[in-house]
């Protein structure tokens, strides 16, 4: 298998899907002539032209709404937010229209649309531009929410998202765009189903559920814990809504303990949802309370040393695992 960067994997997914189905188009700020704010859409304008790669004004509510209308009319838009922080001005379009039309039209109208862009903290972009948005969107019935951690999952899941007939929230990561990973060779098509978790690392002593940026923090922590004799099994849900708990529950039944690690704030959200599901579905198998390592419950500070403390750290992951393993 070859290695690709996360951004290249996303680009390939869009390119392959746009070649396959001419109803698909990409719309957003700087996606065309500037080649994408993070170069995810590099080369797509040259290949597909201005009819299918559309630069917009700085008007998220407008182009999100146009996208939803296009989807209702039979096209298959991919809407790029320069970052998910900017989606807040389009929140009403996403929640009141994209997520509701199928139900309100009694199934007559579908909204096959993908909203995608970088989510979460980057580096020193401060409190207004560091939101980890999964809790906002996973709360809404009618939306799919996907947050891939690896290039392979990014490609396989974006292709599935584009083919889905339901509105999909696709959360990428600015710090993940440069991450390299194995992706199936050209010509080998891989569609990763929405709503299927994956085993990122096998282990026996503690289950860690994580996704997005902390995925890499957790894998590094798991290496260190392994050296201390604590073997961690890492599960990546990949899709946050609908949530596949089968693998994590099966894992917790084996390890008897669980730590959930996520970038978003601790109050509610998919992290808390996972804890709830595990304590209900694996109650009689738990040897310790399920712990969470989260982004700290504060607006993101600008100072780098503080930002590093707010994001989940290896040290906090190691401490939490040792607590549930009664090893500290």
């Amino acid at each position: 298998m070859r290695e690709l960067r996360y951004r290249e994997a996303l680009r390939e997914a869009m390119l392959e899907e746009m070649e396959r189905d001419e109803r698909i188009f990409l719309m957003g700020e700087e996606v065309g002539h500037y080649q994408g704010a993070y170069k995810v859409s590099e080369g797509l304008l040259e290949k597909f032209g201005e009819r299918r790669v559309i630069d917009t004004p700085i008007a998220e509510a407008g182009f999100a709404g146009v996208g939803i209308g296009a989807a209702m009319a039979g096209l298959r838009p991919v809407i790029e937010f320069m970052t998910w922080n900017f989606s807040f001005v389009a929140f009403d379009q996403i929640i009141s229209n994209a997520a509701k039309v199928h139900q309100m039209s009694a199934g007559a109208i579908q909204v096959p649309i993908v909203f995608r862009g970088p989510n979460g903290a980057a580096k020193q972009v401060a409190s207004q531009h560091s939101h980890s948005c999964a809790p906002f969107y996973t709360n809404i019935p009618g939306l799919y929410v996907i947050q891939p951690s690896t290039p392979r999952d990014a490609k396989g899941l974006l292709k599935s998202a584009i083919r889905s007939n339901n509105p999909v929230i696709f959360l990428e990561g600015e710090t993940l765009y440069g991450v390299k990973g194995e992706v199936p060779d050209e010509g080998v098509e891989e569609l990763i189903p929405i709503g299927l978790s994956s085993l990122a690392r096998p282990g026996t002593d503690c289950t860690i559920v994580t996704w997005g940026r902390p995925y890499y923090t957790v894998l590094a922590a798991a290496d260190k814990l392994e050296a201390e004799g604590i073997s961690c099994e890492v599960i990546d849900p990949r899709t946050l809504r609908p949530l596949d708990t089968s693998l994590m529950v099966q894992s917790v039944k084996k390890t008897n303990r669980c730590v959930v690690v996520h970038e978003h704030w601790p109050y509610g959200g998919p992290g808390a949802e996972i804890v709830d599901r595990i304590q209900r579905e694996a109650f009689d198998y738990l040897d310790a309370p399920v712990e969470r390592v989260t982004g700290l419950d504060v607006p993101m500070p600008y100072a780098l040393n503080l930002e590093d403390k707010v994001l989940p750290t290896e040290e906090r992951v190691i401490d939490a695992v040792k607590r549930v393993a009664y090893a500290s």
């Binding site: 008897n256 109650f283 009689d284 198998y285 738990l286 040897d287 310790a288 009664y326």
Partner: protein, 428 residues
């Protein structure tokens, strides 16, 4: 105005204390400086005295519980005051699940109690009037602490394997029984079914706070202090003879000195002559002590204490004898105060009474050295080319090499030997 009383820090190094016994009961009057309870700290069992005047309205912690300083343990106020809010506050402050639950359970009872007391509050009845009512409630927190804490996994396994969890010792937070406890319990129990009474599992006891202090301090000593050891063999006959003569003199006064008292005195004098040994390594500084305060190792039930004999170099042997006896007695009764055990400058440990010929002792930080005393050996010695009966004794000093080099330590041992072998030297 009623207030929450927290567990006081009864010694500078106290990290936790065990509430051994409540001296005051709920409803009893409390004066300033009255003893409320006895608390076992890392150093001793200490009296926990009240800074407040009033009535002990509520005991929040059952006897036997180990707590950190400042954890709420009681509420003191005026008779009949409504303390429901304070109980809730104390509960929030404690956080410890089992104890907090116990407090919560009694909170309702306490609120009800307060109502009945309030009715009589206008009557200036003595506070003791409410004793029977509140007294009946005291047992409750203790009763609820009998709950077995265990993880959901352990409860399922116990059901499947028909194990009575009350028999299993928990190693998790607050004594929670976790998987490894039930696994090791089974390993321990299985053979005893095969041959009853023959192969019992180890009896598991919680380490006392003294035991944990010993463990921590001596581990720290062995791991951080570069120990080395100097052994010297001395003729103890002159000192033993001197003791005999002294005791004959003291007999009329009904007093007695032991050989150990004389050894303490000899060591104290030797420390004056080689003061480099009377020193402590304090990281970037060396403290050369200008007093000779000798820590005496005293064996007590389940442990060891080191009360300090102050100014041993300046005291007569008979005074030393009296003070050492007093310190040892108080150590065995756990009546030593922290100041009785702090700031020694040198230690002496004697295992001679067990027939131990010689041994090496662990330095009592931050002291620089400890002298280990062996037993008297009656054996032939060569004196002026003749074999004659001798009485010998071996002393081994453990030194902190960071402050006491070999030659310095040896100088001390040789000075000590000269004093012991010629006790009148002490008069110099």
């Amino acid at each position: 105005m009623a207030k929450i009383i927290g567990l006081p820090k009864l010694s500078p190094t106290m990290e936790e204390g065990t509430l051994v016994a409540w001296i005051k009961k709920e409803g009893e009057k409390v004066e300033v400086d009255d003893v409320l309870a006895e608390v076992e700290t890392d150093k001793a069992t200490m009296e926990f005295r009240s800074f407040d005047r009033g009535v002990l309205l509520k005991i929040l912690v059952p006897e036997g519980e180990t707590l950190e300083p400042d954890v709420p343990v009681a509420i003191i106020g005026k008779a009949g005051e409504d303390i429901a809010d304070l109980i809730a506050e104390a509960e929030a402050g404690r956080g410890s699940g089992a104890a907090a639950a116990a407090v919560a359970e009694t909170a309702a009872a306490a609120a009800a109690e307060t109502e009945t007391v309030a009715e009589t509050a206008s009557v200036p009845a003595p506070a003791s009037a409410s004793v029977p009512a509140t007294g009946a409630e005291i047992g409750e927190p203790g009763a609820t602490s009998g709950r077995v804490l265990s993880s959901p996994l352990v409860r399922r396994l116990a059901r499947e394997r028909s194990i009575d969890l009350r028999a299993v010792q928990g190693s998790g937070p607050r004594g929670r029984i976790v998987k490894r406890d039930i696994d090791s319990y089974e390993v321990g129990v299985a053979p005893s079914f095969a041959s009853p009474g023959e192969r019992l599992p180890p009896r598991v006891a919680k380490a006392s706070s003294m035991r944990r202090t010993i463990a921590r301090r001596l581990t720290e000593s062995m791991q951080t202090i570069p120990h080395y050891y100097l052994t010297i063999d001395v003729d103890i006959a002159p000192l033993a003879d001197a003791r005999k003569a002294m005791n004959a003199e003291l007999e009329a006064a009904g007093k007695k000195v032991s050989l150990n008292d004389l050894i303490i005195k000899a060591a104290a004098v030797a420390l004056r002559r080689v003061p480099e040994v009377n020193a402590s390594w304090m990281d970037k500084e060396i403290h050369f002590h200008q007093v000779v305060d000798i820590s005496i190792a005293v064996a007590v039930d389940d442990g060891l204490m080191t009360p300090v004999l102050r100014d041993a170099d300046r005291k007569g042997v008979s005074q030393i004898a009296e003070e050492v006896r007093n310190l040892a007695e108080r150590a065995r009764e756990r009546k030593l105060q922290p100041e009785d055990m702090s700031n020694g400058t040198f230690s002496i440990s004697n295992l001679g009474m067990f027939g131990i010929e010689e041994f090496t002792a662990v330095i009592n930080p931050p002291e620089g050295a400890i002298l280990a005393v062996g037993t008297i050996r009656n054996e032939p010695v060569v004196q002026d080319d003749e074999i004659v009966p001798g009485r010998r004794m071996r002393f081994t000093m453990s030194c902190d090499h960071r402050i006491i080099d070999g030659a310095t330590g040896a100088k001390f041992m040789s000075a000590f030997k000269r004093i012991v072998e010629s006790p009148s030297n002490m008069l110099l």
